[in-house]
């Protein structure tokens, strides 16, 4: 592909996405459907901007799935994964097994040989990780019981692809033909390493162990090293390098890259750089997945559909109904509550992207004749398109009947992102706040941008994450949507204001408590409507003033009360002046401003404070009576 046509392609895809996705979202259809429709529109059947190279694009874009699984891994603590072992192996295993048997049985009824029937059965048992997880996330259903069950099944399917790929060539009808398949990022069984089985097994185990050990012990110093450069793009590069590197390594040893990056994600889940990694990979994942959905839409062969509309549509319907039935029955067996079970069954009632891989692989290996596989590919693609529609039907028509049970249900905890308080900046100021909160049973999420600080705190068992707090995506990753309070405790006044503005814009529900560097900064914060503003040195200086008064012979309680009164008036004056301040801030130099402010303050201190304290305890007035 020449540069020009690359840009042309990119232009077409981006225009399609930018136009159709916002419209689809506005119409309540969700982004996935928007991408798919965009693909259909620019595809060969409607506008014809994209031709056969759409297939290559699809294979490239499948890398988005790899990234998605990495991100999912990042959000999953190993303990949670362990807790999900029953749904993953039990529910997932049974789903694949039963659905395979059902579709193989149906194929046999249509008179196909058992090898073909088995290949079809296995392939159709898989669902679309990309579409389902994206849609569930978008609707905020990922953490419900139904969402977690869906995730468990999808994870098992992603693992099951590997043995399926290994099995395919054995099912070949006429002689073994090892076909050279195209670049398949997501799942490629490398049967070609030419090593004996035991060596192959050793290699696989070694690689997985390597990923786990590397993630545990190697990545922390590496991230530290990168973070010390303070170059944001280096961190992004490192994150991408990590994901791509693991994907390649897995491919080399014949494992699924998706599975590999997922494991890497889980290993890194309690790493302090997790939130930063998440927000770096997220946009790439989003775009690649979008690209993938578009290419799925573009790949639908509408000519085939027009030639045999009833057959194809019938098969789509049959596929969805059969899968739904199996899923629903299994959901019952695994005691999913009815509305969650419906969500689960609606979500997974489609064919998956692995089907494209498996079908083309099977065709190359002469397991499936093209006249069988081509309609099936179309059916799978169409079933993916109707998934977002099914989810909407479930949401709008089916779920309302179960609404009472639904509302009460709180989202399950999937990770430790859901702390009510986020503290930005965990230096001298933030630490005190954090310690007080933790001492009183509230665990805050902590973000800090100084790597050496993080190391120190980690050594004492604190969970501190690395990140530049002025990035809104990082706040997202830190759980700003679920949190109630945001404590801005960083020492950079400009950045603090920037964060306040961004937070007001993106997370208006968050109450902000901010550290003010000086009076001027406090004005700015107050004017921005920050709920709580504390000047960083005020309270400690006041305490020291009390001590000074005491050493001068003033009795403690009087000194204490004098300080309280002083503070009361000072805070009042601060609020007044913040309200009165106009644009002159810009004109006068900051130091002159502060000097002027101080002048005003000193005057009012003189006038009011001295007599006001404790009149009632002064009996001089009584004596006159």
């Amino acid at each position: 592909m020449s540069n020009e046509s690359l840009f042309y392609q990119a232009f077409i895809y981006l225009v399609a996405a930018v136009l159709s996705v916002p419209i689809a979202k506005r119409l309540g259809l969700g982004s996935v459907l928007g991408y798919l429709l965009a693909g259909v529109i620019i595809g060969p059947f409607v506008l014809g901007f994209v031709g056969n190279e759409g297939e290559d694009v699809m294979h490239f874009a499948e890398f988005g799935v790899v990234m998605m699984l990495f991100l999912i891994g990042l959000e999953l603590q190993p303990e949670l994964l362990w807790r999900l072992r029953v749904p993953i192996v039990g529910l997932g295993g049974l789903q694949v097994l039963v659905t395979t048997i059902v579709f193989a049985g149906i194929s046999l009824l249509f008179g196909l040989p058992w090898q073909i029937a088995l290949a079809i059965g296995m392939t159709l048992a898989l669902s679309s990780t990309a579409i389902v997880l994206q849609t569930l996330n978008e609707k905020g259903l990922a953490k419900t019981d139904g969402g977690q069950s869906s995730f468990s099944v999808l994870l098992f399917q992603d693992i099951a692809v590997i043995p399926m790929l290994a099995l395919m060539p054995l099912l070949a009808l006429e002689g073994a033909a090892t076909a050279q398949n195209q670049v398949i990022f997501v799942a490629e069984a490398a049967e070609g390493t030419g090593l004996p089985a035991w060596q192959q097994a050793l290699l696989v185990i070694g690689t997985v162990v390597g990923i786990i050990l590397g993630g545990r012990f190697l990545m922390r110093p590496i991230f530290r090293f990168i973070a010390d450069t303070r170059l944001r793009e280096m961190f992004t590069a490192m994150a991408l390098l990590l994901v791509i590197g693991i994907a390649l390594a897995m491919q080399q040893v014949g494992l699924s890259p998706a599975l590999g990056t997922f494991v890497a994600g889980v290993v890194l889940a309690d790493n302090e750089y997790r939130h930063e990694l998440e927000s770096d990979i997220e946009p790439f994942k989003g775009l690649l997945l979008g690209l993938f959905f578009i290419s799925v839409g573009a790949s639908i062969d509408f000519n085939l559909l027009l030639r045999q509309p009833l057959l194809i549509l019938g098969m789509v319907l049959g596929l969805a109904i059969a899968k739904f039935a199996v899923l629903f029955a299994l959901g019952r067996i695994f005691r999913l509550e009815i509305s969650q079970n419906l969500l689960f069954a609606f979500a997974l009632a489609q064919g998956g992207e692995f089907a494209f891989v498996l079908f083309s692989f099977a065709t190359q290996n002469r397991v499936l004749p093209p006249d069988v596989s081509e309609p099936l590919v179309a059916v799978v693609a169409l079933s993916m398109v109707i998934t977002p529609l099914l989810m909407i039907i479930n949401e709008k028509l089916v779920q309302p009947r179960f609404v009472t049970e639904e509302v009460e249900r709180e989202a399950d905890e999937i990770d430790d992102n859901e702390n009510p308080v986020i503290i930005l900046g965990f230096g001298r100021f933030g630490q005190i706040i954090g310690r007080l909160l933790i001492a009183n049973g509230c665990r805050p999420t902590l973000l800090e941008h100084d790597p050496s600080q993080i190391d120190l705190l980690r050594r004492f068992g604190w969970k501190v994450f690395y990140g530049d707090a002025s990035r809104i995506d990082l706040l997202h990753a830190a759980g700003a949507e679920q949190a109630q309070l945001l404590v801005v405790a960083i020492d950079d006044p400009e950045k603090a204001l920037e964060i306040v503005d961004l937070t007001h814009k993106h997370f208006p529900h968050l109450k902000i408590l901010a550290r003010a560097i000086d009076r001027r900064h406090a004005y700015e914060l107050i004017r921005r409507g920050v709920e709580v503003v504390e000047r960083e040195t005020f309270s400690s200086a006041l305490d020291m003033g009390v001590e000074a008064l005491k050493l001068l012979g003033v009795r403690s309680y009087k000194a204490h009360r004098a300080a309280r009164t002083f503070k009361f008036h000072d805070v009042e004056a601060l609020r007044d002046m913040a309200a009165a301040e106009g644009d002159e801030t810009m004109v006068l130099a900051r130091s002159r401003q502060l000097a002027k402010d101080l002048g005003q303050l000193l005057q009012s201190d003189d006038r009011e404070l001295t007599q006001e304290v404790d009149r009632a305890w002064d009996i001089s007035a009584l004596r006159k009576d």
Binding site: R561, R564, T565, F568, D614, R615, A616, W617, A621, L622, D625
Partner: protein
């Protein structure tokens, strides 16, 4: 019926989250019209009472209620601090101190000990009314009319269901009756505690309409 009486409830409880009875009592009157619940420990966690603001509050109300648990035969510390600071000479008493004259004063207290503990033979040796004398005298010196107190006794033994609910209802009734002026004043002063004769003291809504 005229305008309702404005009622100020000065509420003092240093550990409300641990209280059973006071939390309910205060909830029962919190949202009432013409009733201001002023939670002193919440307002002044550092005891730095704003004298001017408190005096303004007093001026704006007709009936002042001291609502608190009975600690060492008196109020929790903050309410004592409040009295020391807010009831200034020249405001509440002494020369020119007429601001509170004609207002009514009610103590609403809860005691851990039961009724039998508060008599000559009991371990507290004095009756609740005797022990409340400092408050009665404070009201008197300020020219306020001292009402028989609302007293909940034996709070440690109160049953979740029945008794807690009954006292809560009583308190609500007393406060609304004072607010709406539905009180038989002659009967009222025949009782040591207002709760001893609620049926006779409080006039029902219907009766007052006919009057």
């Amino acid at each position: 019926m005229g305008n309702p009486n404005q009622i100020l409830i000065l509420f003092a409880h240093p550990a409300l989250e641990k209280s059973r009875i006071n939390r309910r009592l205060i909830q029962a009157v919190q949202e009432l019209d013409a009733v201001t619940v002023h939670d002193l420990y919440e307002q002044y966690p550092d005891f730095h009472i704003n004298v001017k603001a408190e005096q303004d509050l007093l001026l704006a109300h007709d009936i002042i209620v001291f609502h608190h648990p009975f600690y060492w035969y008196s109020s929790p510390a903050i309410l004592k601090e409040w009295q020391d600071l807010v009831l200034e000479h020249g405001f509440a008493y002494g020369k020119g101190g007429t601001a509170l004259r004609g207002k009514k004063f009610l103590s609403a207290i809860t005691t851990g000990g039961g009724e039998q503990a508060y008599c000559r033979q009991g371990y507290n040796r004095f009756s609740v009314r005797e022990l409340l004398v400092p408050f009665e005298q404070t009201a008197h010196l300020c020219g306020m009319e001292y009402l028989p107190p609302f007293v909940v006794q034996g709070t440690h033994q109160l049953q979740e269901q029945g008794e807690l609910g009954k006292y809560t209802k009583d308190y609500h009734q007393v406060i609304t009756a004072f607010r709406d002026g539905l009180v038989d004043w002659e009967k009222l002063y025949q009782f040591k505690h207002i709760n001893h004769g609620l049926d006779q003291i409080l006039k029902s809504q219907e009766v007052s309409h006919h009057v």
